[in-house]
Symmetry: C2
Amino acid sequence: MSELFKQLRPILERNAAYHAALSLFSWDNETLAPENAIELTSHIIGTLSMESYSLLVNDNVKSLLEQLSKADDLTESETAIVRILTKQQEDIWKIPPEEYREYNELSAIASSIWAKAKEENNFLSFVPSLKKIISFQKKFASYRKKEGQSLYNVLLNDYEEGITTQFLDQFFDKLHTHLVPLIQRIGQKPQMEHAYNSFHYPKEKQETFCRFLAEHIGFDFSRGVMAQSAHPFTDSLHNHDVRITNHYYEDSLESAIFSVIHEGGHAIYEMNISDDLTLTPATMVSMGVHESQSRFFENMLGRQIEFWKPIFPHLKETYPEQLVNVTLDTFYHGINLSQPSFIRTEADELTYPLHVMVRYELEKQLIDGNLSVEELPEVWNQKFKEYFGIIPPDAANGVLQDVHWANGAFGYFPSYVLGSAMAAQIYSYMEKHLPVKELLETGDLKPIREFLAKHIHQYGAMRPMNRLLNDMMGEGLNVDYYIQYLTEKYSKLYSL
Amino acid sequence: MSELFKQLRPILERNAAYHAALSLFSWDNETLAPENAIELTSHIIGTLSMESYSLLVNDNVKSLLEQLSKADDLTESETAIVRILTKQQEDIWKIPPEEYREYNELSAIASSIWAKAKEENNFLSFVPSLKKIISFQKKFASYRKKEGQSLYNVLLNDYEEGITTQFLDQFFDKLHTHLVPLIQRIGQKPQMEHAYNSFHYPKEKQETFCRFLAEHIGFDFSRGVMAQSAHPFTDSLHNHDVRITNHYYEDSLESAIFSVIHEGGHAIYEMNISDDLTLTPATMVSMGVHESQSRFFENMLGRQIEFWKPIFPHLKETYPEQLVNVTLDTFYHGINLSQPSFIRTEADELTYPLHVMVRYELEKQLIDGNLSVEELPEVWNQKFKEYFGIIPPDAANGVLQDVHWANGAFGYFPSYVLGSAMAAQIYSYMEKHLPVKELLETGDLKPIREFLAKHIHQYGAMRPMNRLLNDMMGEGLNVDYYIQYLTEKYSKLYSL
């Protein structure tokens, strides 16, 4: 190891310890902490966030990073660590410390206020927190923005370096142009059998089956944990402690199943990050790449008939009464049924991008335009009507459904569709090198995981998104694969 | 607030944040963290422990504390905070930083090694960790010891200020003198009906009933959490987040019941600590006082027939088949049955002190004498034979049963008996001021909790143990109440 880099080690170690502690508090708040704990606990979170602030906002660290950025004896992972830590330092330095603390305490509290508001179906009780979060997000973006850059573009870059609304407008436009006619043609077709999906499925059985599913796709329980929360998510302390949550609805067979495959995809990525990178800031190249892996497992693998061949009998054994009349073929068509629906995380692959477009357009207006928080439910419903032709019956099925805004994650949503597009592209490439369908049929997903680990997971944030895709496939992000995949799949499913 | 004390606030805040984070990691390791996480996580724990070390081992903080110790405008709680932080600073300052870090990482790993060793009933796999822990404990005690003080006395003082082996030898001697003849006379009497205790009690039902019991004694679930672990314990992040665990054995009715009452007693104490003191170092006067509260709930309340009168019907409803032939009277005699047994936490009140004496005598020899870790199981069994006339069948039922040594808690065990003695003394005093039995019969424990909160809980570590007892009852710790209580109770139970 470079002598100079050795000097950075204690900084990295402390930075990692603060982030792991904050991650654990966040996990604990979402999964277990008692309701009345959050006020005092958010103060602890504020203090820890200030420790991590003072560690980075520091002339000694700045000068060390400057020297390191000129050093020529660093490894590829060391170079990435220096680059990313420098970026984090520059970003955080622009924010006044008292605002940084206040924001961190606020966002710790806000997600529990959101969870309660969602449970009680009461948007108004979430309004004050959301307004404060948006005001902080705008202020922070204004400190960090470059000449001529819009605030929302600053936020988008936190999740996907280099992505702009200009790019996304075109990207979503193209999707819209190709997908909407397809959706309309499906609307005229007879719908698939799906009543069994909303029979009664007891929580305990769902949890047991989801544990089996997680193991089946390769989630390593000796290095991971599965729990429950209001909204499924993945959290990682390091590559030997990766945690996923699920939410069990007793009137839905599919909800928890596809959540666990989705979060499992995130988790497998985190578990495969190289030991050189875990506990450093260089673990995540972009949210889009991360979502490409969760969406890859959820859709490219989890919604194929071959994926279910070896395990469908076990599903039927788990729910013998509910699924007595359901064949593998019925089930396959059911999990791929496409129709307008209210909840993004439950949406089929084809209408999914429209859910994200709704959020993207509202976010843009909340950050760069004049849309107020009070107008949000109304505008959400209008926009929803425009895209789907239906109006959510209440806030829990509409504007309150996602935790992201409570966490201050504005600019995150587009990553889901960018990730879905990458997933389709990666799948198309993988099929040329691996007998994917055969592997799924035998239930052996190891070669698939190894392929992904080799080309993507191990690198963490070492290589930027397009470089990563290029190194792997000789081509950067190309949305055509996604459009082609959806068109072919759904034309076949609905005999268009 | 004193101007000078205000300067201490940021130090207290950071100190509290590190300790809360370390507490949460420790809770998480015992309850949830995946098996292979501990190696990397212990490194995070080491880093956080060093942050708390550097915060205190610091000339600025030292000088501030010196000024504060001379200030005359501090409140009682501020004075206590300064006194206790100064003591912590003096203690920690004597330990070299690298040893402090290494020890903290080691003890994080050791309790998971212990848990595995206990599960696999394999003492040898725990030997290397235990040897290292003892060696650190002796070394640290040697840094901190006063002229002429024995190492074990240094450790005893961490849990109970001013307590020495000289005091404890006399204390245990007196107990031994009075209790052993009582135990022997009971041995000649016919034993109570108790077969129902080892029928099959499903985990889920136990958990539900324990939740009910926790609520019944006053555990506030809006400020607390109940989970599972290898060994029941209580953890507190602050007075609005207090956590207890339990362990459910399906072949025991009583184990989890008395564990939840015991840990619930600890938790109610923590929940009642004054807001001035929570998140400061001045939350715990002594381990003995803390145990007095858990043992008070477990024994002074939980093993009375009046306690069970209002809730025994619910217990029978929970286990209608198992308890079909069990009356309240049978149950009351069953939970007070006294006989030699292997497990301390399951022991009856009368033989309980002997379990602690075994540990006390072995600890003394491990720290001040020549007893080696390798000899420990053999000497444990000999000592056990001497006190109980029986020999544990294996290490899990013998030397491996408690987590304390894995946590480095040498000197802790005597607090259980000191606490039991205090509990008996407090109960005798309480009866003069509250109709305790009537309250138990009506299931209204609030006045009892308020009495304890008023005289004990709220003060945290503000007043030393004997001052606290004196302020309340006009008398310091007096073991006679305990002896009298046990003698009367068991003479009646066994018609001696």
